[in-house]
């Protein structure tokens, strides 16, 4: 009984260890897939950060264009959400700057716009962004896209 209990305990410990190991691995893997969320609306930043963290992605935030570029230089993300209407360099300018830099042109950039007009879509494409999402959006959809993009 004791042995059995011990076995079971050992097994449980082992299982727990494996489980922990796989979780750690996944966390390590995720930590390589960092996402930078840039928007001047703190609520938006908060909601995106929340869901991506929940899905195991490492996130960073910036509330204006200049801060976003500084954050990219500090630690290069794999994916970037970029609001357009921001003070101190708008989204187009940030996107253009990053896409024309050989070091950062491989960052996947998703533009976020609250205007949703054709003009913005064209401008977003012209600034060589990879994708364009109009507010309001579904966080689940965002997560799905992030999974697809980052594997």
């Amino acid at each position: 009984m004791m042995a059995c209990q011990l076995d079971t305990f050992l097994l449980l410990v082992l299982y727990m260890g494996e489980l922990a190991k796989s979780r750690i691995c996944r966390v390590i893997e995720m930590s390589r897939k960092r996402v930078l969320i840039t928007d001047n609306d703190p609520n938006l930043v908060k909601s995106l950060t929340f869901v991506l963290n929940k899905e195991g992605y490492e996130t960073d935030t910036a509330e204006n264009g200049e801060e976003a570029i500084a954050k990219v230089r500090q630690s290069k993300p794999s994916l970037m959400f970029l609001d357009i209407m921001m003070p101190k360099k708008n989204g187009y300018e940030v996107c253009q700057e990053l896409k024309s830099s050989p070091d950062f042109s491989d960052i996947y950039i998703i533009m976020l716009t609250a205007k949703g007009q054709e003009e913005d879509r064209v401008k977003a494409l012209e600034s060589k962004s990879d994708e364009f999402i109009t507010k309001p959006f579904s966080p689940a959809e965002i997560v799905r896209r992030v999974h697809q993009i980052l594997g």
Partner: protein, 755 residues
């Protein structure tokens, strides 16, 4: 026929003229029987003989020449005189008419009619002798000073006496060439019965051998000629040259010496004679003839005469030459004169032409002057001529139209004295005058103010130019035009165009404003979309998060609060959009009731009190007593107040004070009567930078970089306040200093005034 032939034969045989026919060789074929009567030959004696056998040796050459020439030409006819030998040996003079009928089939011979003229000749000789006597007599009688007529008379006489002499005379008188003359003379002399040979040598001025001619001597003469050339004259000639008598004649024969012609000369009667005319010796002539008879006085005279004739002819030729030369000179002179005359005529023509031109020019000048006078008088402009001292010399009648003076009133007066020009402009005018006179510049069209005779103002336009006399400016011509009407028109036009420009500017501004409005509208829509989507995004996101993930109670509450706040914000936004849209589009029903300012302020403070308390702020209200009432929409004015107070609360740090003042705003004109009520909302917030102050009343112009700094406004509050205040006839503004706070003030017209 026989009868008829007999008849003709008898006619021919008894005719005074004799007939001989010859064949082409001059052989006698037929001789009329009458020949025997005249020449002593029976026809038988002559038939078959050559006709020239019986012709005198001296005439043979001439006869044969004529014959051979005549037979060449069918129907050739000629007449001549020659000597024919009688059967007894004497010579008979005959006159013949030869007719070439060789080509006439019925005749085929040369037919010669001839007639014995010996008797006639003798008779002529007799006449000549007699005439010579008369001639000698006449010669003596003739005055020595009329040598020409005398000689001519002699020649005339000689013509009658001797056919040959006549011929000489005729020929030599016509002959102009001395050489030809002497040769012709020689020929003629040789043709005479008496002299068969002759030579003539001319002497030039140095008495040297000159031209030479001869006849009858043949080759013999050439030897003599060579001798003479060397100065070895034959003896006869030497003697003749040495004779001192006016006309020297040597009768040769006896002393010919070694003369090569001795043989021919000695057997004959020969003369050497000087060819002399009035002491001028032209040459020497020598004649010799058959027979040894000593020449008689008559012959001498005849010879003398012939020599004289030849000399005279030579003299004449010389004279003629001299005359000719003179004539040439005269002609040359004449031509010179002609040339001069032409030149003079040409010069004269030129002068005439010039004179005509001058006359014409003068005429033109006069016409031109008249034309200019007419132009001057009929000109539309006033033209004034002023001399150097300023006196008006001339003025056309236009002066009356412009200045009211007649030309007579101004002419002779000094320009300055007339007081035509505004005194202000006089110095400039005088300067222009002197500049024009000095040639250092004039006046183009210049507008001047001048005075009419009646004292009214006339605007004129004048141009000044110098008038030159002898190349120097001597006076001034001013052309003046009345531009009063034009000036008035111009002023009107300027005024109108100013108005138009202003209107245009207004339109331009309106257009620009419209464009701006259009752009603003686009921006507004774009901004509205942005502003609405932002809270919606938060609501949507957090709602989904709450539905998707299991969260702890606290997180759920936090997210639900966000959803709640964002919903409120969305509601405010929608309300504000509707407000401003209604106000801007005019689709709003404004209440217009009498309102008390204190009550409005109280309502507003109550509405915002909870927010202030929450932010730990104090609201201090300070009102002046007896504030005037205002008319308006209570809710809207409260909205303005609450908006301003809310802003003040939002921008003021915790523990601060919001102060509210209300006071009447008295106008400077009427102190007694307040026209507006002014309300101030003063905060101790961070203040607004001057560059932002002008924008804050525009839509969506919140100050601040991020939403973190930003209070939960919509960015439309101040724009709505502005619309409301301005709708009530008031105004709204801000005074602020960064770091110290802002004062938002607005005015409303007081109710007393609104009455």
């Amino acid at each position: 026929m026989n009868q008829r032939e007999e008849y003709f034969k008898s006619l021919i045989e008894n005719a005074p003229d004799m007939i001989v026919t010859l064949d082409v060789n001059a052989t006698i074929q037929y001789v009329s029987p009458s020949t025997e009567r005249v020449l002593g030959y029976s026809p038988d004696m002559l038939l078959g003989k050559n006709v020239f056998d019986i012709v005198h040796p001296n005439d043979v050459t001439r006869a044969t020449n004529t014959f051979s020439e005549g037979i060449q030409t069918p129907a050739y006819t000629t007449s001549m005189e020659l000597r024919v030998k009688h059967s007894d040996g004497s010579w008979r003079h005959v006159e013949l008419l030869a007719n070439n009928l060789l080509h006439e089939p019925s005749v085929e011979s040369v037919v010669i009619n001839y007639r014995d003229i010996t008797e006639k000749k003798h008779a002529e000789d007799e006449i000549r002798v007699k005439h010579e006597d008369i001639e000698v007599h006449a010669h003596q009688l003739e005055a020595a000073n009329d040598e020409l007529r005398h000689t001519q008379q002699q020649l005339l006489n000689a013509y009658e006496q001797l056919h040959a002499v006549r011929k000489i005379d005729q020929l030599i008188v016509r002959e102009k060439n001395p050489k030809k003359l002497i040769q012709t003379a020689c020929n003629i002399i040789s043709e005479t019965r008496r002299y068969e040979c002759s030579w003539i040598v001319l002497l030039d001025d140095a008495r040297a051998f000159g031209s030479v001619a001869h006849a009858g001597f043949g080759q013999d003469f050439l030897t003599l000629q060579d001798r003479i050339r060397t100065g070895a004259w034959p003896a006869c000639a030497q003697r003749v040259l040495q004779e001192k008598t006016p006309i020297a004649i040597a009768i040769v024969a006896s002393d010919c010496g070694d003369c090569p012609l001795t043989e021919k000369c000695s057997q004959r009667s020969a003369f050497s004679i000087r060819l002399q005319h009035s002491e001028q010796i032209f040459g020497i002539a020598c004649f010799s003839g058959p027979g040894n008879s000593t020449p008689d006085e008559e012959e001498r005279a005849l010879v003398e005469e012939m020599a004289g004739d030849i000399a005279f002819a030579l003299y004449n030729i010389k004279l003629e030459e001299a005359r000719h030369n003179t004539e040439e000179e005269i002609r040359a002179q004449h031509e010179d004169i002609l040339v001069h005359t032409y030149q003079l005529e040409a010069a004269n023509d030129e002068l005439k032409h010039t004179q005509n031109q001058l006359i014409e020019a003068n005429q033109k000048l006069r016409e031109s002057e008249e034309k200019y006078r007419a132009l001057f008088e009929s000109a539309n402009d006033e033209i004034i001529h002023v001399n150097k001292s300023g006196t008006i010399i001339d003025a056309n009648k236009k002066v009356t139209d412009i200045f009211g003076y007649t030309p007579q009133e101004v002419i002779g007066k000094n320009f300055v004295d007339l007081d035509l020009i505004n005194p202000n402009q006089m110095p400039a005018m005088e300067k222009a005058f002197s500049n024009t006179l000095q040639g250092t510049g004039g006046w183009g069209l210049t507008e001047l103010e001048s005075k009419h005779k009646d004292g009214s103002t006339v605007y004129i336009e004048a141009s000044i130019s110098p008038l030159h006399k002898e190349g120097k400016p001597d006076g001034i011509m001013a052309v003046i035009r009345d531009v009063t009407e034009r000036k008035q028109m111009q002023e009107k036009v300027t005024e109108y165009s100013g108005q138009l420009e202003q209107r245009l500017e207004e339109l331009q501004k309106a257009y620009e404003k419209l464009q701006e409005l259009d752009k603003l509208k686009d921006n507004f829509l774009s901004t509205v979309s942005h502003e609405l989507r932002t809270p919606l995004t938060s609501i949507k996101s957090f709602a989904e998060i709450l539905l998707t993930y299991d969260n702890d109670r606290e997180t759920e509450k936090e997210f639900l609060t966000i959803i709640n706040d964002e919903s409120d914000r969305l509601t405010r936004l929608i309300n504000d959009f509707l407000d401003i849209s209604k106000i801007e589009s005019g689709h709003i029903q404004w209440e217009n009731v009498e309102l008390e300012i204190p009550k409005i302020i109280e309502t507003s403070v109550n509405a915002t009190q909870s927010l202030a308390t929450k932010m730990n702020l104090q609201i201090d209200v300070s009102l002046q007593p007896n504030l005037a009432h205002v008319f308006g929409d209570e809710d809207k004015i409260v909205q303005v107040m609450t908006n301003l107070i809310s802003n003040a609360i939002n921008f003021t740090s915790e523990g601060g004070i919001i102060r509210i003042f209300a006071e009447p705003l008295r106008s400077e004109v009427s102190i007694a009567k307040p026209e507006f009520v002014k309300i101030d909302v003063v905060d101790t917030g961070k203040g607004i930078a001057p560059e932002d102050q002008e924008y804050i009343f525009e839509k969506f112009s919140q100050v601040g970089d991020t939403l973190k700094d930003k209070p939960p406004g919509t960015g439309l509050g101040l724009a709505i306040c502005k619309e409301i205040v301005e709708h009530h006839g008031g105004s709204i503004w801000v005074e602020s200093e960064v770091g110290k706070g802002s004062t938002f003030s607005f005015t409303l017209p007081s109710a007393e005034m609104a009455d």
